[in-house]
């Protein structure tokens, strides 16, 4: 047995009437790795997750989870995966512990194991103190953690997370990231959808970018960033009167220099760290006072802009109401 593919999507299509939500998407996730499905609202990410988790039948194409076909072997698929949906689907009137027990009992976990597993999960997700309180008293972050704990009760080798951190404050988000990284370290395969480029960058081994039901790019975060252009060195001079002198200095090492007079900031194309070091040395030797000097790599935001011609929206809006920002190139 070799390390296989935990998830495979082969030319998956989903139509709702005239609307094509997913239009021939293919990707695969090797066991134990993390795929980030990135895209704005209405890109088809949730529909992909719903098809791969047997909640929605594909119009055409093939999906496999842990080697099982999502259409012909849905039960085997359900046994090998856990799902945390876009909205935390915890039962508000049940306590945290009861939520875990409900799902564990339905999985058919033996009583003793289930008791032990719920204690362990509650502990692991810092919910022990709140374990016997109704979930409706939980904060957004606690609900998310409980939702994830519930999905993990049967220790599924593949985990689907649909926008796991949407609506969370930065601290809860960081906590959840930590938990996810621990799971991956233990061998879980992860598919997570996100609108946050930073999140995909942070967690995913590979990123698939979707827009309007299609894959528009895929690769490692580094590869995708490379596609968006090279890095640049940004220098902020202390006094506006030094701007021209600084521009000349930069031109000696970089052909393209962009000057923003109001913020006293100069941006020069660079190929990497060594360029930045050179520029730092040049400025140190000159008499120009500098407030800040640093290397700026293109963010995934730049990648998205580059690929789609519009920015990735982070606000929740209905797919139909999307208004792509006008982009000047």
């Amino acid at each position: 047995m070799t390390r296989g593919l935990a998830v495979e999507a082969i030319d998956l299509v989903k139509r709702f009437g005239d609307v094509v939500a997913v239009d021939g998407v293919s990707f695969s996730i090797p066991e134990g790795s993390v795929l980030g499905l990135l895209g704005p609202n209405g890109a088809g990410k949730t529909t992909m997750v719903r098809m791969l988790t047997t909640l929605s039948l594909p119009t055409s194409g093939t999906g496999r989870v842990a080697g099982h076909d999502v259409v012909t072997e849905p039960d085997a698929v359900r046994r090998s995966m856990g799902l945390t949906g876009q909205v935390a689907t915890v039962d508000e009137l049940l306590t945290g512990r009861e939520n875990i027990r409900l799902i564990g009992r339905l999985y058919g976990l033996p009583k003793g194991y289930l008791r032990e597993a719920s204690d362990r999960l509650l502990e692991q997700f810092s919910l022990t103190e709140a374990a016997d309180r109704m979930a409706k008293t939980y904060s957004g972050g606690m609900r998310r953690r409980l939702d994830l704990a519930v999905s993990l009760v049967a220790a599924p080798p593949v985990l689907f997370l649909d926008e796991p951190t949407t609506g969370l404050d930065p601290r809860s988000r960081a906590e959840l990231w930590e938990v996810l990284q621990r799971l991956v370290a233990e061998g879980t395969t992860l598919l997570l959808t996100t609108q946050y480029l930073e999140e995909a960058d942070h967690l995913a081994d590979r990123i698939v970018v979707m827009d309007k039901g299609k894959v528009i790019a895929s690769g490692t975060p580094t590869e995708l960033k490379a596609q968006a252009g090279r890095a640049s060195v940004v220098v902020t001079v202390s006094y506006a009167e030094d701007l021209d002198k600084a521009t000349d200095l930069l031109r000696s090492s970089s052909p393209e220099v962009y000057v923003d007079r109001t913020s006293r900031r100069l941006t020069a194309q660079a190929s990497g760290l060594s360029d930045m070091t050179n520029i730092a040395v040049i400025f140190a030797e000159s008499e120009i006072a500098v407030d800040d000097l640093g290397l700026q790599r293109p963010s995934l935001d730049d990648v998205f802009l580059h690929l789609t011609g519009h920015r990735a929206e982070t606000e929740t809006s209905e797919p139909g109401q999307r208004q792509p920002e006008e982009v000047l190139r």
Binding site: T89, L93, L94, Y107, G108, L109, P110, G187
Partner: protein, 279 residues
């Protein structure tokens, strides 16, 4: 083996549809325990109905055969409560669909019908609580079961059978509607005429002839009439000769109506639920 990290999978026991459904029932009953006000519709409300009708309208309504109005009333209110069980199912189901609970359950390796079976069983339990509460209230105001144990039990069985058929209507409506408020609005608009244009609260003889025709063919009338017959709350009198067929054969008619309801609404309900929860 080249896998270096293997996730430790827990042991899994296979569970039958009934066991899975009972787990769903356990969860639904926990809801009632956490929100006892969910039981208002089968406790305070019917008791209030019994008292209102018995003491406010009771004196003004004439019942044949020297039967007291309270005795006449009880079977009617019991039938009404059973009919309302479809609203209970519908609201519970819509709520679960809306909150994504159904999706969560359907992503598990369980039989998909356990969600519906569990929902049905718990709402039958819910309505049965109402039947017990009303039975006790009835006993307090003078209602009695005057026939043998066999007939009395048959009456309760008919109630459950009818409740079961109404559950399909509830599942159908619950799968079609998008919010609990919509379900509530729709169900109450349908349920009130259905349970009032009948022999539940007043004899049909006094109604205008066109309304009387409708009321006597109303399935709720057949159910109420059979409860009165089987519990001996009809003074032992045969219905007036001018009554429609169901009043002359109430037990057969209520069984028939239950079968027809199930045959019509079960396929509609299953199709709507599948459609709603598959896309």
């Amino acid at each position: 083996m080249t896998i270096t990290r293997e996730i430790h999978r827990p042991p899994v026991e296979s569970r039958s549809l009934l066991q899975q459904s009972m787990t769903v029932v356990w969860r639904n009953l926990l809801h009632i325990r956490r929100m006892p006000e969910m039981l208002l519709d089968v406790t305070i409300q019917p008791v209030m109905f019994v008292l209102l009708f018995a003491y406010v309208f009771g004196g003004a309504i004439d019942v044949r055969g020297g039967v007291s109005y309270r005795e006449f009333l009880l079977p009617g209110i019991m039938a009404q409560t059973m009919v309302f069980s479809s609203a209970v199912v519908a609201m519970g189901l819509t709520n679960d669909l809306q909150k994504g609970i159904v999706d969560r359950l359907k992503s598990l390796p369980i039989s998909r019908s356990s969600v519906l079976v569990g929902r049905s069983i718990s709402s039958l339990i819910h309505s049965s609580i109402g039947i017990v509460v009303m039975g006790l209230t009835g006993l307090a105001v003078g209602w009695r079961i005057r026939e043998g144990l066999l007939n009395a039990s048959l009456a309760y069985l008919l109630l459950l059978l009818f409740g079961f058929s109404m559950i399909w209507l509830g599942i159908w409506v619950g799968s079609l509607m998008r919010s609990v408020e919509a379900v509530q609005g729709f169900m109450f608009t349908v349920m009130f005429p259905l349970t009032f244009v009948a022999n539940t609260f007043a004899p049909t003889e006094a109604m205008p002839s066109w309304l009387r025709f409708i009321a006597e063919w109303n399935p709720v009338t057949a159910l109420t009439a059979s409860l009165r017959e089987l519990w001996g709350n009809d003074g032992g009198l045969a219905p007036p000769a001018t009554s429609q067929w169901p009043l002359h054969h109430p037990v057969i008619a209520s069984i028939a109506w239950s079968i027809i309801f199930t045959a019509v609404f079960a396929p509609l309900a299953l199709a709507a639920f599948k459609r709603r929860s598959q896309d």
